[in-house]
Amino acid sequence: MPLEVKTQPSPATEWDRVANSSQFKDLMATKKVFIVPAFVFFLVYYFALPVLVGYAPHFMAIKVIGNINLAYLFALSQFFMAWTVAWLYVKAAGDFDKLARDIVEKSENNSKGGQ
């Protein structure tokens, strides 16, 4: 089985053909544009919490509203951050689904024709 399918004029299998199609590359690129920044953003936002609470406890103890301090508000904001990222992802994933559906339909038509 060829290792470098990219250089093959006729790809070895239907999977390789789909993987090298421009439609599939388009899908992967569209996904990457959303998922990579979203993943990095949420990691940074989340780990800022234990880092700040652990290493800057006095800063985090600053009171903002009444007795409510920065530490509690930042922790609470994490819930809304998670929900917002999830909501944005669901919206973006609508596009992924459309691209993926086209690829699946095309491939299923192909294999029907081939058999």
């Binding site: 089985m1 060829p2 290792l3 399918v5 070895a12 299998t13 999977w15 390789d16 789909v18 993987a19 090298n20 599939f24 899908l27 992967m28 996904k31 998922i35 979203a38 993943f39 949420f42 990691l43 989340y46 780990f47 919490l49 234990p50 880092v51 609470v53 652990g54 290493y55 406890p57 985090m60 103890a61 009444g66 007795n67 409510i68 301090n69 530490a71 509690y72 922790a75 609470l76 994490q78 819930f79 951050m81 998670a82 929900w83 990222v85 999830a86 909501w87 992802y89 669901v90 994933a93 689904d97 993926a100 690829i103 699946v104 491939s107 299923e108």
Partner: protein, 534 residues
């Protein structure tokens, strides 16, 4: 008969009814292991929440916040945010490329037998540790809640164990799913009611509530102390506290996406889009629940008080005692029954994921090389495995006894999931060069690093005063070698390192050439397992 006992019996009757209904719809592998893949998005979302919100979250988190304030709330935050890893990285590829277990995804590209054997070992380790922690907690709790009914720790453990075996053996994934759904709705309902009652206690005035949290009074070694429970640092103290906090965060964020009993839930839905929506539903429920732990935990600290809780059953009783203080014995019974339902549902979820992995990965694919010798064998073996797993958990829980120090077992389950399971799942989906040696070394390194580091951590090593007896004592009476309770910060990089080194030391052209297949399958759903027809 006491009120809690009556409520327990009502819950048991309803869930057994569901099991009977489900048992007639659980013929065949896809029906038994994956509820015929016909669970809807919201149903699975609630069930994921049910599987996840264990007694550790409901009783444990309320207790930690009641005793250690703000630092306890950090668990709540991590437990929700972790679902972003599940949503963005794992849920959809897993549904698209797998069948019943997490190992299915690995087995596409890699040599199935070694990879499935290791993945099954890791799944069984995570599930068994987690289950023993739940069973010991359940026995102690039920015995305490029902102490007027004369039910002992042993009876409670055996009762919980038998029920969970019945759900799983007869009702399969369908019954387990509905037990989770009912339990999650009960848990949410009880938590909302408790939160409203806490706020009502303070005249629905948030300022008054948080002012009270700022002045929590209790006795420590005979001295009266007043502490601001919103201040960080009551649990995680220098020098190692901050590092332990980060390590805990890593285990939660990367471990949730590697917990086998959560991952199997994504096989019960028709397609990847539904899997995605079920994560979102789960996040809405789990997030709302953990925000409300503010009221449960701080409410118990201010309204009931540490002193009273300490002398009436300890930290785990914080939420039930809060219910009693706010609305009397019937509400106490209701919250206790919810706690019981919570434990039962979680152990059932753990049992089905463990038995599925044993039967599908180990029995069918490792021992019999992927051939089911006669129809129904895989389901039969899973049922026997569920029975054995349940019996072993009952035996160990009784052996350890109600005072055993088992809290670390939950931390261990998350650490193994994050250090062994997650690296190989992610690398298998995203790294073309990844191969069998990488998966086996990665799973092994993650497993050994997590268990090894916990063995030498303060959870198992420490010098106890002679007043501490039996299994409540530290296993090794020596100062801890590894200073952190959570090994994640070291064991997760070791898991990844093992996977990298194993991969680079060997060459496997077939694994690379099949990368395109997994890539296309996991991203488009082409060739994915379909839901059963009506």
């Amino acid at each position: 008969m006491s009120t809690p006992l009556v409520m327990f019996l009502v819950f048991i009757a309803i869930t057994l009814g569901i099991t009977y209904w489900a048992s007639k719809r659980s013929a065949g592998s896809s029906a038994y292991f994956a509820a015929s893949r016909r669970v809807t998005g919201w149903q699975n979302g609630i069930a994921v929440a049910g599987d996840y919100m264990s007694a550790a979250s409901f009783l444990g988190i309320a207790g930690i916040i009641a005793f250690q304030g703000y630092d306890g709330f950090l668990f709540s935050v991590g437990w929700l945010v972790a679902y972003l890893t599940v949503l963005l990285v794992v849920a959809e590829p897993l549904r698209n490329a797998g069948k019943y277990t997490m190992a299915d995804v690995l087995a596409y590209r890699l040599k199935p037998r070694p990879v499935r054997a290791m993945a099954s070992l890791s799944t069984l380790t995570v599930s068994t540790f987690y289950m023993i922690a739940q069973m010991v907690g359940a026995g102690a709790l039920v015995a305490l809640l029902l102490k007027n009914s004369g039910i002992s720790y042993q009876t409670a453990v055996i009762g919980v164990g038998i029920l969970m075996i019945v759900y799983v053996v007869f009702g399969g994934m369908l019954a387990t799913t509905w037990v989770q759904i009912i339990k999650a709705i009960l848990l949410m309902g009880g938590t909302i009611l408790l939160s409203i009652l806490v706020l009502a206690h303070f005249g629905f005035h948030f300022g008054a509530f948080f002012d009270a949290v700022g002045h929590v009074t209790y006795h420590d070694k005979g001295q009266e102390v007043v502490k601001d429970f919103l201040q960080p640092g009551l649990r995680y103290k220098p020098p190692y506290g901050p590092l332990d906090l980060i390590s805990l965060g890593m285990a939660l964020i990367f471990g949730t996406a590697g917990l086998p009993h959560i991952l199997v839930r994504f096989y019960t839905v028709p397609d990847a889009k539904t899997a995605r929506m079920s994560v979102v539903w789960a996040m809405v429920l789990i997030g709302s629940f953990y925000i409300m732990t503010t009221f449960l935990g701080f409410g118990a600290a201010t309204i009931v008080g540490r002193d009273f809780i300490s002398t009436h059953g300890g930290t785990n009783m914080s939420a039930p005692l809060l219910a009693q203080a706010l609305a009397g014995d019937v509400f106490f019974a209701f919250i206790s029954a919810i706690a019981f339902a919570t434990i039962l549902a979680v152990v059932a979820g753990l049992t089905i994921s463990a038995s599925t992995s044993f039967s599908h990965d180990f029995w069918t694919n490792v021992i019999h090389r992927g051939v089911e010798r006669k129809p129904g064998e895989e389901v039969l073996v899973a049922r026997i495995a569920a029975f054995v797993v349940g019996a072993v958990a009952i035996f160990i829980a009784i052996l350890l006894g109600p005072t055993a120090n088992v809290a670390f077992l939950v931390a261990l389950a998350f650490a193994v999931a994050a250090s062994a399971n997650l690296p190989v799942i992610v690398l298998s989906i995203f790294w073309k060069r990844f191969n069998t040696a990488g998966a086996v070394v990665g799973l092994g390194a993650g497993l050994i690093a997590s268990i090894g580091l916990i063995m030498v951590s303060p959870s198992l090593m420490g010098v106890d005063p002679p007043t501490v007896v039996g299994t409540a004592r530290h296993l090794f009476q020596r100062p801890a070698i590894f200073p952190l309770e959570n090994p994640g910060i070291l064991s997760i990089p070791l898991g990844f390192l093992g996977a990298f080194v194993g991969t680079l030391l060997s060459h496997e052209p077939t694994a690379e050439s099949k990368f395109n297949e997994l890539l296309v399958r996991s991203n488009t759903g082409l060739g994915a397992e379909k839901a059963a027809a009506h």
